[in-house]
Symmetry: C3
């Protein structure tokens, strides 16, 4: 009896904490909104923000109608901790998608709510990259596809008990299964890849890499955002939300009764990796600018995107990485951000908010770093076994070097890349072929706020500027 | 002994969660502040925001001094779960207001804190509607009246064990009592009604419906807010806070030991109804604009206010509505918002932030939708009995159709309407008669920031604009 | 067994709540960032905000590497509640700093994370005061010194079991030890004092108190901030975070199993003191302005800084003060803010965001008010004994008046003042002597955004204004 009562109370606690953490993750929507709003030119602010708001709304409905069913339908009841139910082996199948619980929140409302906030985050990552030139219709089309089908398939494969890459599968892939603790792959790599495909098809903003005659510019034209204050606010809201995102995921460990400690380790790793990423990018850039131009510059965007890169990179492995490993992960994330951001510009791939370097590149790096640094001690605490630790821990192992986990992580990257490529790339090409993807030149010039939303953001303020651009064009 | 210890620990948990949820509700004050600041013209930003800050401060003091006593003084100790104490029948009276615990936080600090944040929310709803033309003195007068007396009487009647409409009354009204789980009636309908009375007496802003000669304009002059980014930020902060507002109210169910599950149901309903409201208003407006003007427009204010309408509407019944019912509630809320917003303009009633359609109309709709959709299963989970479910559930009932709950909900609307009407409407008329309500023409023209706060918000920026208006006037 | 399981579950709960509260405190960084960004002129926005972001990042790394070790290394394991371990007498030493756990998060990740957010807050207080004229290099230097050494020494002395002023020392100072429940002294007085030393050495902003010829101005030139909306947003985010800061500190009371109630009392005191401070400063100023100028003015900055002053002042004693005492503390905090702010201007000490009156003066007042008002009942609840209550409670004591606690609080002020004075004052003088402290005149004139960050915040907008100033200069 006491056992039962005690379990009930733990369940109460978990449900409530899932709601609070879910609320914090939901709040990340406004972080993305502020970050994007600050990063675009004044004439596109409304358009950018509406997309962020629609993400939150659309994902709720589509995750309720189909997303949850495809991702987690058929999984056991997270609300019920009794032995027979929570034992994964009782669901001894592997499926491509779940097939029950359509138009339902499944057995646990708290679990549904928490997972919904993740799916909404995944969708919102894409919007920033395409800002300032994408049609509303195209945005609506890919959002529905992503939230209703593409994301759930990945979440199912990696997180569901029936997923073929899942650590809780009755017979895990390579005897290990993928560790994507809070969705560095499922959410960030996924969103970042789709952003990449979309911008490849969509092309750069007018005037970013080519002059009006279509000749390539020698130096790409930077389009500075209209408000650094909103960018910083957005970054900090995201970081705050990440403390719900990463530690909150510990609440999903059904049989783990030390989830508080797991969550605390995740919180520490999150803080340290974000901090390292920000400092690394800021000072590496400072040193580089001084070398090249002779003048040191503290570029705040470097600190912000570096920190976000560190946060993305630690998302996969936050619960199973020692603090020092989180710092290394963050430092490398900062460098990867700088490198990939430069490469994108060299390749004339236009990303309005640098979401591809932040989310795609570091989402991938996070999966790999987990494969390298997952510590046996923390694996034991988190998952109850440490059979296949991170690569570096297998060197001083009597059984010899083994890379099962690392290979699983690679496979997760390949799977996410392949799945999104075969589905979303053709989809964007089709949208483009139908003329539904790109806003027309004039709309882009005037700004999407006037084109789609009937009026500029700030009254007449933007008007003269636009007229001047007209004349130039 | 274990029983006792276990109860103590649950009490610890509840107290702490009440504080966190209360903190999130408190944060809604800044949501309202940003929403209002973004919705008014630059010349009134300071004035609007000061009112929001004063709400938070003033409500704390007045709720401590008298509000809590009138609302909940005499109720049992929420800190003590033992049988004898928490049994409502031991307080076998029905009173108009509580009469103990003046200048006190009562037996439970956590409960006081949580309830304080609700009362502050109620006050802050009114300020937005009256923005840009109301005197500071009038604002102070009605704030004190509302937080110290009007709101506590309603809260007492509907939530206290001694309230005549309360579900926890020893002999509930119509054997059922009102279900206003998180205050759709007590907080939102209440605040929205008072906003309506005030703006009726106060009149529209200069130039909104009439030209300088007093002739009615053919098309009302829109006064676009100065920052969509702040409006969106405010909306999202409010939504985040709602996840403390609605699920947090489950912590008040004294004898319910499955409050985590109740809270989770509330969170799901909150997410779905807000999402439905936003999408419904955005796309209905899009379709309508295309029909009328031939040009589809995505109006972000529709999505924002639609979402807020859905959130208000689900506040009364979030814990007892199935997800599909929350979606229906949200869809209708979106439509009601559009309809009532149009009617207000037709009637030349000026609401600077659309608080009347959002809070009054949908606060009322929420009470009714609870009377329609309260599900027996969730009533059982939430309140421990399902004697009088929502109207639609009584059709396939052997005992025949019954509408006790629905009628109770109607009575709650009538009571709130009547109580605020007989107290606040004369109050505003008296304020107006004394010349204390409306800022004078010149003050309104220059902007309240200069008039009451000594300087404009953004230095000289607004200066020239004002001078131009002078000349026009 | 049940005992053990029950303890484990409480530990889970505490860990998780520490993370959520820590997240809220972390979010205060963006509150400071918005407050500072709104308070400075447009040309310095980026510079100000970058400092806030760097605080969060830098403090994480330095607290991990050395700060935690110096502050709490050697303390017992907060993760383990068993009798033998949590008994302070088993650590029967008093030390100046801890000497173990370098480059480590110590035994409890949750505790580390929570304490990290406190240290980051302490650093960020200083940045605001020095805004608009301090070099980046100087900022980096004092940040590292503060987070890595100065702050940990104070935290160790007052909070660690081995600290000489600590209440949990095996032989507490004056048989009582200092009560600084949530860091009014350790965090706020400390940060405010360092801000004072820095601005004394740094001097006022160009044109604030002297004209270009170096003649003192008759009336100091106010430098109004560029956005009241951001100031208000920052204030409200800070207040929200304070509900993690103050109540969250109850989670550190290792042997206290009624921490939920302690936290609730802290939440109530926080709400009431902040509210009183805001209202007091606003209306005292209104009354004063009317007396002096004949025209009443509602100055929103008074309400904001008054509220923050009340919040700072209640931080030391929030858990041990009755609500009425919190109100008195807040009222006096509002007055002290006004008084000290005026004196600073008279002394020509330039504080760009009024951090010295808010944090230094009221951090000190908070320690004293705790010595006056700590109630025996709440001391018993919080610390398990009420041997030395606040001064006012000893009058109706049979044992005669005693002021042990009050004297301890005075000693804490003296210790913090002395320690920061002998370390940081010479440090700033040395920085200044080397020419590393103050940005040069031209940089200050153009704005630090252009000087250090390569471009203005808002494109060409600020350009003309600066040019005009050049010509004036």
């Amino acid at each position: 009896y006491h056992e039962q009562q005690s379990n009930d109370r733990e369940q109460n606690l978990r449900s409530f904490l899932l709601i609070i953490c879910g609320g914090m993750i939901f709040f990340m929507q406004s972080g993305f909104a502020m970050l994007c709003a600050g990063s675009v030119r004044l004439k596109n602010v409304q358009n950018t923000m509406l997309k962020n708001l629609l993400d939150a709304c659309g994902a709720a409905l589509s995750f309720y109608l189909v997303g949850y069913a495809l991702a987690f339908g058929g999984d056991y009841d997270y609300n019920n901790l009794s032995e027979s139910n929570s034992n994964p082996t009782s669901n001894s199948t592997t499926t491509f998608v779940g097939t029950t619980n359509f138009a339902s929140v499944g057995p646990s409302s708290a679990y549904w709510f928490f997972e919904y906030t993740f799916s909404a985050t995944s969708v919102t990552i894409v919007a920033g990259t395409l800002a300032e030139r994408c049609q509303m219709a195209a945005y609506l089309a890919y959002s529905v596809a992503l939230a209703g089908f593409i994301y759930p398939v990945i979440a199912h494969s990696i997180w569901s008990n029936e997923g073929f890459l899942s650590r809780t599968n009755y017979s895990p892939f390579m005897d290990s299964g993928v560790i994507d603790f809070a969705g560095g792959g499922v959410v960030h790599l996924n969103g970042g890849l789709i952003a990449l495909y979309a911008t490849l098809v969509l092309g750069p903003r007018r005037g970013r890499f080519y002059d009006p005659q279509g000749e390539p510019l020698i130096n790409p034209q930077p389009f500075p955002g209209h408000s650094v204050a909103l960018q910083l606010l957005g970054t900090m809201i995201l970081w705050f939300g990440w403390f719900g995102f990463n530690p909150g995921s510990a609440l999903l460990l059904v049989d783990n009764h030390e989830f508080g400690q797991v969550a605390a380790n995740a919180a520490v790793a999150t803080a340290l990796s974000g901090a390292s990423g920000g400092i690394t990018a800021l000072f590496t850039n400072l040193w580089w600018e001084e070398r090249v131009t002779g003048e040191p510059k503290f570029v705040i965007q470097m600190a912000m995107n570096g920190a976000l890169s560190g946060l993305v990179a630690v998302t996969s492995g936050c619960a199973v990485m020692e603090p020092w490993a989180a710092i290394i992960t963050g430092v490398i994330a900062g460098w990867l951000y700088m490198l990939s951001s430069t490469i994108l510009i060299k390749l004339k791939i236009d990303d309005a908010v640098n979401a591809i370097p932040v989310h795609m590149v570091n989402g991938g790096w996070g999966l790999i770093s987990t494969g390298l640094f997952a510590s046996p001690k923390l694996l034991q605490l988190t998952y109850g076994n440490a059979d296949h630790p991170g690569f570096i821990y297998t060197f001083n192992n009597n059984d010899g070097v083994e890379a099962n986990l690392l290979l699983c992580q690679f496979c997760a990257i390949l799977f996410i890349l392949g799945w999104t490529f075969i589905t979303m790339f053709p989809f964007f090409i089709w949208l483009n072929y139908r003329g539904w993807l790109r806003a027309d030149s004039l709309e882009e010039l005037v700004g999407l706020d006037v084109s789609y939303h009937g009026r500029g953001t700030h009254g007449s303020e933007g008007g003269e500027h636009v007229q001047k651009e007209y004349i130039d064009a």
